[in-house]
Amino acid sequence: MAPFFIVGIIKLRKILAEHPEQKMTVALSGAFIFLISSLKLPSVTGSCAHPTGTGIAVVFYGVGVCSVLSTIVLIFQALLIAHGGFTTLGANCVSMGIIGPLIGLIFWKVLRKAGANVFISMFFAAAIADLMTYVVTAIQMSLNLVTSVGANFIDAMIDMLSVYAVTQIPLAIVEGIVLAMFAHYLATSRADIFEIADSNKINPFSTEV
């Protein structure tokens, strides 16, 4: 987690120094993670889960900055609500701030290259980032069971995926629709923001602005 976080801090400082007009958009990206990750939504498995809201941040500023913004939200939750917690902060940041959003960003880039509009591209980027966050969580939990109690990885993975990933499918669709609508609003009112998004690199270690 640390290398991504450090790169994210460097990139964030560069963005704010070279493009001070971006301050509000950076705050907006963080605000979406704050707002959407706080919602507990019902799902088809009869349980509730949180969406992640990382789609906007990763599409506009890349994985490094997304990991920094996600970590701020995770620290807020760990500090005040003991939700997530400090001992699992690294694992949560890897799933919610790094790997999930990275896969979402890849979808964004591929769809934009293929000529898809902002609405469709953001829908898939946000939904996939959300869903993959929970797939990574299931992998982390399964690996923990393998190393701590010697569980069979495949069995643990099937159980964890059924708890996390299946629950997350409708939530990922809802998150995709909400963020796609907001991206459409931005595309029609502040198209300049997407110039930065489209010049953004998939490489999480790039600090190019």
Partner: protein
């Protein structure tokens, strides 16, 4: 413009139908999947090695207080998003006013 409005109307309608439809037709206690993951791990014999530090201070955090703290988190995000939309539409109006003059 009419097309834009249609996108927002259809989008919010789909979200509302999904959420209300799930609550109406899917039976369940709607507990958190985070807790369900922990319970699943305990079925394998996993024993958590640390309890929430906050429990030592408050005792177990009551559901109402937890909901209030999540609401505070939502509010922080919503205020920033609202501020952005407000300044954005004010900027658009000012630009339109300047162009008209």
């Amino acid at each position: 413009m009419a097309n834009d409005k249609m996108i927002y109307i259809v989008g919010f309608a789909v979200v509302a139908i999904m959420v209300v439809g799930i609550l109406a037709f899917v039976p369940g206690d709607y507990g958190g999947s985070d807790d369900a993951g922990g319970e699943e791990a305990e079925k394998y014999g996993y024993v958590p090695w640390l309890t929430d530090w906050i429990d030592a201070i408050y005792g177990e955090l009551p559901g109402e207080i937890e909901a209030m703290l999540f609401a505070v988190q939502s509010a922080i995000g919503a205020v920033i998003i609202g501020y952005f939309i407000g300044t954005n539409s004010a900027r658009k109006k000012m630009a339109a006013g300047a162009a008209a003059e």
